[in-house]
């Protein structure tokens, strides 16, 4: 059953679905007008709260969410020891739920909202109908799924081999790309949870990054001070995935801050 948490706020406070809304998600932004028209009837805009779960492992997934602007959702794996470890992170470049499975399958991971904000929601039934009606929709979503797979594949190797500092730098860059502004509303505690690392270890890494001038860690915020330094600290994984996005579908990867 769909988790009741998945419904955003209803009523007059819910965001409206304007044409301009679609430019806040890279996939929707790339779709031709007739595709959006085909889908619009089955879409609504919702507000996602921090910590909200779009689905839990085992839930039937019946909707796809397209994050808008700086909304970010993480797919996490709940482990037996109580840790919930990040498997991948999806923001305005993508969509969460049913894109690969085509819907009506049981979710494998938990989708949890990291950075709150708006999203466009569409039932998978409507999305599948749109894919059949408009080939461009099917093609664009395939390209997105390919890029998502590349991101996850690279992370498998990255998690096995690369030091936590490089992995943290990579993740901060990914977040910066999606949020498009340097003040990331994140805490070191969140980072530790996501990587399944101890707070002590993450604090040490954050201190090191701060000492070198890459970030400034403030209360509730990690400020990106120098992208260049983060790019020097990170592993090749960041660049390789970004390159794949550009190659498979130009305009899909959210461009960095101008």
């Amino acid at each position: 059953m769909v988790n009741s948490n998945a419904h955003g706020t209803e009523g007059s406070s819910a965001p409206s679905l304007f044409r301009t809304t679609f430019s806040a998600n890279q996939i929707l932004n790339l779709l031709p007008r007739d595709a959006l028209d085909a889908m619009a009837g089955g879409m609504d805009a919702v507000e996602l709260r921090r910590g909200q779960c779009l689905f839990e492992p085992g839930d039937e997934v019946t909707q796809a969410h397209f994050p808008l602007d700086s909304t970010v959702v993480a797919l996490v794996v709940p482990m037996r020891d109580g840790r919930t470890v990040e498997a991948t992170t999806i923001g305005r470049e993508g969509a969460i739920g049913g894109t690969v499975s085509r819907g009506h399958q049981r979710a494998f991971t938990r989708a949890v909202v990291h950075i709150p904000g708006n999203a466009v929601r569409i039932s998978l039934k409507n999305l599948e109908a749109a894919k059949r009606a408009v080939p461009d929709v099917h093609d664009l979503l395939s390209r997105y799924e390919d890029c998502l797979m590349a991101q996850v594949l690279q992370s498998v190797g990255c998690a096995a081999v690369h030091p936590l500092e490089a992995r943290c730098a990579r993740w901060l860059l990914l977040m910066h790309d999606r949020l498009r502004q340097p003040d990331l509303p994140l805490t070191q505690e969140m980072l530790a949870d996501m990587f399944g690392a101890t707070r002590t270890y993450v604090t040490r890494i954050a201190s090191s990054l701060q000492k070198r001038g890459a970030i400034v860690s403030r209360r509730g915020i990690i400020h990106i001070e120098s992208r260049e330094l983060l790019e020097e600290t990170t592993c090749e994984c960041y660049g390789l995935v970004r390159q794949h996005f550009e190659r498979v579908q130009p305009g899909l990867y959210p461009a960095g801050e101008p």
């Binding site: 085509r102 395939s142 590349a150 498998v156």
Partner: protein, 242 residues
């Protein structure tokens, strides 16, 4: 590929006869040798490979500093090439045959045509795509936090499931490279496992001696994935029988 109606690949064999019939004219049998390249990064994916019994392929990343890591292991439960991407896009990871054996090849065009023609076939492959994505999502988390001995046990079980044999033709060096650790370390941990009685190391081989014990030594990732497969594609993941 013994019987007329069966290919030996469980993903294909679990299709309805009608759906399998759509693919049959375009399926080409072949033999894969260890090291055969199935996918080259940057080259468009135009073929899908369906491993047969005992054959194992993998998506492998070549990281800097000469390191590598296996991102996904695929045997007779699945397929490699164009499963998520639907073909005609550049491959991201290397696709390589790890354990030699029979396989079938199908062009991505033929599969896409078949999916257009048959909703049930499209659904079947969507389920598998979901399982493959689940496999790699789990591996990210597993590699991030699980100890190497548990990861090693999981890898050995996964290999045995696909090989269908106790005796795995793999070296400790190969396993180290696939799991992204230094070779002496892998040898040491494998030695520890051997001492518990779950495996026996031979020359260029590893034998699973006590499967039940090895399952207890593996992390929960092994069980999670099997359950997910079973839920989405009942009977497709091979149940290893002693």
């Amino acid at each position: 590929m013994s019987k007329d109606s069966e290919t030996g690949n469980r993903l294909l064999d679990s299709l309805s006869p009608r759906d399998r019939h759509i693919l049959t004219p375009d399926l080409r049998p072949l033999t894969l040798d260890r090291g055969d390249v199935l996918l080259e990064p940057g080259e468009d994916v135009v073929q899908i490979y369906f491993p047969g019994p005992g054959t194992i392929a993998a998506l492998v990343l070549h990281l800097h500093d000469g390191k590598s890591a296996e991102a996904a292991m695929i045997g007779m439960e699945g397929a490699i090439g164009g499963i998520i991407s639907n073909g005609d896009k550049p491959a991201f990871a290397h696709g390589v045959a790890e354990i030699a054996g029979p396989a079938l090849r199908l062009s991505t065009d033929a599969l896409e045509d078949a999916k257009q023609r048959s909703p049930s076939l499209r659904d079947h492959f969507a389920r598998y795509a979901d399982c493959l994505l689940a496999q790699v999502l789990q591996s990210v988390a597993c590699n991030a936090v699980h100890d190497f001995d548990a990861r090693l046990a999981r890898w050995l079980l996964a290999t045995q499931d696909r090989c269908g044999k106790n005796n795995l033709k793999v070296t400790q060096d190969f396993i180290a490279d696939m799991l992204g650790v230094r070779r002496p370390y892998a040898t040491r941990i494998a030695g520890q496992l051997e001492q518990t009685g779950s495996i026996h190391r031979g020359r260029g081989t590893i034998t699973i001696v006590d499967r039940a014990r090895l399952e207890r030594q593996a992390c929960e990732c092994y069980g999670y994935l099997r359950n997910h497969f079973e839920r989405l594609l009942p009977g497709v993941y091979p149940a290893y029988a002693d």
